[in-house]
């Protein structure tokens, strides 16, 4: 009993002090410093041209237009979030499917067929794995250079561009590994499409 009597008030007091230190002061200090030094990054990396917003650089979108570069398979979610007028907003979720299941094999076969149809000239080329798999967040904004290259002929045909012109745009939106070693080479799909559409230079 004596131990509890001594311990209880101390634990409440120290809990409140830590709530102030770690919850309020720490979070506040990081917010202020981040807003002062890294305002663009800390606010969601939204692409703005002449005051108009064109999507978030870090969130994937779904593309089905043959003249656009396509990203990872998206498992769209239109029920989780709505704007203030009640209109549904786009979000996405991972599939959480086992890559060793029967159901999964059928799903991938379907995607392969759909990509073959979209791009009849590429029958001989194996499809890069990024184009038939759903990402970890469901919102992956990138694809691999191989997955981008696979789509070059289709985009060039749809836009009356040469394949090299499309490749130039892709190269401009390709980022190498961090310090040349860490992570993977990535192509930002939204940036490529905004450049193809003439919105980004």
């Amino acid at each position: 009993m004596k131990i509890i009597k001594e311990t209880a008030p101390k634990s409440l007091g120290i809990f409140l002090v830590f709530t102030l230190l770690c919850g309020v002061l720490y979070t506040g200090a990081v917010t202020v410093l981040a807003q002062v030094f890294f305002p663009e990054q800390a606010n969601g990396s939204i692409i703005e041209v002449d005051g108009k917003q064109y999507g978030c650089e870090l969130l994937g979108q779904q593309y089905t237009d043959g003249a656009h570069l396509w990203g990872r398979i998206m498992n769209l979610d239109v029920s989780a979030f709505r704007d203030e007028n009640g209109k549904p907003l786009l979000y996405a979720a991972p599939s959480n499917l086992s890559p060793a299941g029967e159901e999964y094999a059928a799903l991938v076969a379907q995607r392969v067929e759909w990509l073959r149809e979209a791009d009849p000239g590429m029958d001989e080329t194996a499809i890069p794995v990024d184009l038939v798999t759903c990402s970890g967040s469901g919102l992956d904004p990138h694809i691999s250079p191989a997955a981008a290259e696979y789509q070059v002929p289709r985009i060039a045909r749809a836009r009356d561009m040469t394949e090299d012109q499309v490749r130039e745009v892709i190269a401009a939106c390709t980022q190498g590994r961090f310090l040349g070693v860490f992570g993977e080479e990535t192509v930002n799909v939204l940036r490529v499409n905004l450049m193809l559409d003439g919105i980004l230079e």
């Binding site: 720490y26 990054q41 978030c56 239109v78 959480n96 086992s98 094999a105 759903c134």
Partner: protein
Amino acid sequence: MTAVIQYALYLAILVGLAIPLGAYIKKVMNGEQTVLSRILTPCENAVYKLLRVDREEQMSWKKYAAGVLAFSGTGLAFLFLLQLFQGVLPGNPQGLPGVKWDLAFNTSASFVTNTNWQAYSGESTLSYLTQALGLTVQNFVSAATGIAVLFALIRGFVKVRETGLGSFWVDMTRIVVHILLPLNLVIALLLAAGGVVQNLKPAETVPLLEPVAVSAEGEVLEDAVIDREAGTVTVDGALIPDAEIVTEQFVPMGPAASQVAIKQSGTNGGGFEGVNSAHPLENPSAFTNLIEMISILLIPAALCFTFGSAVKNKKQGIAIFMAMFLCLVVALGCIAVNEQAGTAQLAQDGAVDLSVVNQAGGNMEGKETRFGIAASATWAAFTTAASNGSVNAMHDSLTPIGGMVTMLLMQLGEVVFGGVGCGLYGMLAFAILTVFIAGLMVGRTPEFLGKKIEPYEMKWSVLVCLATPMAILVGSGIAAVVPSVMDSLNNGGPHGFSELLYAYSSCGGNNGSAFAGFNANTVFLNVSLGLVMLFARFLPVIGTLAIAGSLARKKKIAATAGTLSTTNAMFVFLLIVVVLLIGALSFFPALALGPLAEFLGGVA
């Protein structure tokens, strides 16, 4: 080839940073001067003055344990109430309602026990106030509690014929002020610089390049032709009435970077966003990934060196570190090879390219392009070795063997580095078991670091080591016969059983990662998993402190030629064998029904 270099560098950076941090933590534990003392010691003293804490107090093990329990209980109650009433509290720009009682209990238990199991999705369930004042605070203090208990155990080894283990309040204050706050301030700012959001604004919306059509029932219409000006949607020439056209995308905002920093470095793991560090706004690049991933194991690895230095036997610290490190490397290798190989279902007889030419290749289901296989496999090994539980790829979509290794790492009792503090005190309980078994084999009284190991220590060590297997097996056994649990499964067959087993392994190991297709937000699962987490956390805490109290009272015995060495390769080997024996054998039957059955089904 670059993948191999990546794996090697991740491990090298970890060790390179852990050694100096371990030395720093030892100084903090003993109240010695450090480079940051001039700024931080006044803050520390202010806390003591405000709360009238006696910094010289030496608590008995029972009083220390009472402090841990009372403090954790306070946090549990506060977090529970905060969630229930978040709807009427400020700091809620999204206007989210209060959380239901069972989910609120589950989340409170989860964050107080350093588990961070999440049966909810952050961006759609919790207000900024709850995230910052509730979860971020628990991320700090639950981590600090683990380290404090470890400090008490270390003092048990060091002290001779004394009863006190130091003051819980002093340990907590020093750990938070001198270690966790400065470290995380740096990590959080690096993350914000790398693109992790950090603000107090409500969520934003941005326009989509291509609109998406949705039927009145809320189904996405594939192959729809959308006339934006007329606002009509047609599929195969037929007009779809009441179809809605989605033209904007949801962009979550909020104070993420500050919380992500501590959830990584405190082995908490609870994501700000639902998909954790796979989310591009929580982990946008290989740079932020490197920082977040190293943070997972930084403190747990450093504490091995702290331990060695504090017991004045650096070789002992290195021996424990080596046992953990070897297990980690083997596990990482297994995951890496399996994920890079992919599966036959994905390869489609060669129609899908799984090679590494201009892409990461392998099993990319559930993985982000920017991380590929190497950074995802390393993360998966780190997060389940440490009881972190954050993910940058979906573990539900790992290959069968890759998924099994992550599960096994948790089932070993989270002692391959494990949670901050608790991983090491768990491993020390295994070390006590090991010297006891080895002592019996050669017919000598077992001793560890000059202290005799007697039945009292043995009983508590066994409880500490068996708490996790008991919690997991009993919990998942009950859940497997509850009919309603079937509805929570996302995959059928053996993979469905793996989802269930993973959930209880994760909570019983205080890890918190998930096979995320599993819907854990039901009353039965919330309550049972909550209880599993509390049991698996606090039984070992009490056991460890009891051992510490008993060891501190003993006299020191000098090492002789007949003393079993606990610092050589033989001991490291024995320790690993004991850990594997208890962990792996307890779970072999369960694993055979889940991931092994799935793997063999794929081979046959």
